[in-house]
Chain length 350, copies 2
């Protein structure tokens, strides 16, 4: 298969971990006889520094004409505590999601048995955890109208959803549940929010065409508890943008390291793959960042293009590296392996 | 001291646990020579069933003329999955908060050493946890304009905040931090939301008048992780209504049982005290619900009226009951003590 991949390494540790995803994909290319091309472009704080724009036009154009986007990380502390900053790295990411129509963010959470003692949760609570979150990514309060009064004393954000926006991701989530353990949990706040009641109505109706899938509902506050109390109860979680942001970061701690978790963002015509961790500025340039989340994102890319065997080969190589202790210091303080060692080990086992 | 207390027991286990809070307050009354009066009124599902209104006018009037409200729990499953229901129990609670101007919801999270093995988190992660959440309670997306298009295909909720709404609770939170370990963490989503940027601006400015307090900021997604990864880093957490709902329920699992956690909701002229757990319909009438959260809410009531010694006596009696194993079955599956046994034991030790 020929794939044209846009490489948006971004900020902080982004370039270091994305490089290992590329190494892995190149190993797949060779072993399985594919043709992947990689073209780099700027995004985030570095794009602001160099071009004054977190998502330059060339970057967007490249992404649109590529088959997939491989994304590193975004964000720099110098923007975080400045509520008056006109341009912020995150705007680049949000605009990219919107422009590419990436309405569905998919985040699998699984336990690697060798890492179980890394989890802040007791072992008996988390054994068997294996769920995937479908987070709506281009609607809701992220993209609704924003308002700041002229005197700067009143501000607002609108959380708005249409049936169409809910239904397209709901279908993806139901299909996923059908191919898994057949359970879908809608997380909302239907006891308070009008938009959540629309979610509940639309998802309930769509559920009727998936009789193999059991649908249940959790209020988001209760979901935030259940995720920690009993994570193995979940199979597929479906939720709106803001709740998904919170719940999926919370869920990321179950496995013991956010450095392991990949994500896919998909739409009609585009798809993007990125680790769920941030740009982790403190670790930048130290060759200590864990490349596994980025490499597993590459596996999700392969899977997205139906290269099942190839995706499995990557996951197998990652699992082997964890088992053999070829890991970065976040997983083993005594480890002498750097980001690139781990990446090369994984690539060499494809 | 004379206190006129409105007793809104509500639904499910509400009446059972609230009764034990009353027993405790009566013991305090006797031991310390106060005069507390209790007047009951309807709220929630039971008020809908009896009067078609989750917050009847008489109930609201009673609350307004009382010094404080003691609240049980609210909610019934028959309303939860019906997005079309015109009247819902939760509306009673939300209206009550708004009408009484209870803008600040205060939720302390502490570990009882005897219960540490009940926590889903590993012991070493949670030792030393002792924080309090200040959640804004009468603004934001809970109370902003709601919209549903005529054809029912588009729905929205507005998250809106004014400087005034932010500043009044911020002052309470800074004062609390000053009297504690001097750290305040603002939880927001200032990298995306205009309303969060207003929070950050206002809270930062107010912080300048509290030089003893160190102010820091966390994005809500990161906060949802940090709360589990390292809860002892927090002292006072300040946040808006919706984030507070999620974060505080999440935080409630740290101590091992949501059945232990009280809350206070305060405003200019009124105050309300309630367990943070819900109406727990499955346990209704079985005399198994844990009354401790409700009893500790009574302690917060005493504390609110500057009855420090009295409040401490209640906390001491609760701690003793936990230490002696006089607890409901949620904390000890072999326990033969019912809701009322635990309540009476605590009251008898005041
Ligand atoms: C960086 C930020 C805008 C982003 C979000 O909130 O969506 C991030 O937290 C994520 O989850 O991808
Ligand atoms: C019952 C519900 C409306 C309420 C809320 O969301 O505020 C509850 O979850 C709470 O936290 O007190």
């Amino acid at each position: 298969m020929k794939l044209k991949i846009a490489l948006l390494a971004g900020d902080g540790i982004g370039p270091e971990v994305a490089a290992q995803a590329v190494t892995t994909l190149q190993a797949v290319e060779e072993t399985f006889g594919h043709e992947f091309s990689f073209t780099e472009a700027l995004v985030g704080a570095i794009a602001i520094d160099k071009q004054g724009d977190p998502l330059p036009d060339e970057t967007l154009a490249l992404c649109k004409e590529s088959d997939a986007v491989l994304f590193g990380a975004i964000g720099h502390p110098k923007f975080d505590n400045d509520p008056t900053a006109k341009v912020r790295p995150e705007q680049g990411l949000l605009k990219l999601r919107k422009e590419l129509g990436l309405f569905s963010n998919i985040r699998p959470v699984k336990i690697f048995p060798t890492l179980i003692e890394k989890s802040p949760l007791r072992e008996e609570r988390i054994t068997g955890t294996d769920f995937v979150i479908y987070r709506e990514l281009t609607g809701g309060i992220y993209f609704g109208e924003k308002f700041l009064s002229e005197d700067g004393t009143v501000a607002s954000d609108l959380c708005i959803y249409s049936e169409e926006e809910i239904s397209r991701i709901a279908h993806l989530a139901f299909k996923a549940a059908k191919g898994r353990r057949g359970k879908l949990t809608l997380v909302d706040k239907a006891n308070v929010l009008e938009s959540s009641r629309l979610w509940r109505k639309v998802v309930t109706r769509i559920g009727e065409s998936y009789p193999e899938v059991t649908l249940d509902y959790l209020f988001v506050d209760n979901a935030a508890m259940q995720l920690i109390l009993n994570p193995s109860q979940f199979d597929v979680i479906l939720t709106e943008n803001m709740f998904g942001d919170i719940i999926s970061d919370e869920g990321s701690i179950i496995g013991g390291s956010i450095g392991l978790l990949p994500s896919a963002s998909v739409g009609e015509d585009s798809s993007m793959f990125e680790p769920i961790h941030g740009s982790y500025p403190q670790a930048t340039g130290k060759n200590i960042a864990n490349p596994v989340a980025s490499i597993l994102s590459a596996a999700m890319l392969l899977d997205h293009f139906e290269l099942k065997e190839e995706a499995e080969a990557v996951v197998r190589a990652v699992t082997l590296s964890l088992k053999k202790g070829i890991v970065t210091p976040d997983l083993d303080p005594n480890s002498k392996y750097g980001t690139d060692d781990v990446g090369h080990y994984i690539a060499s086992n494809i």
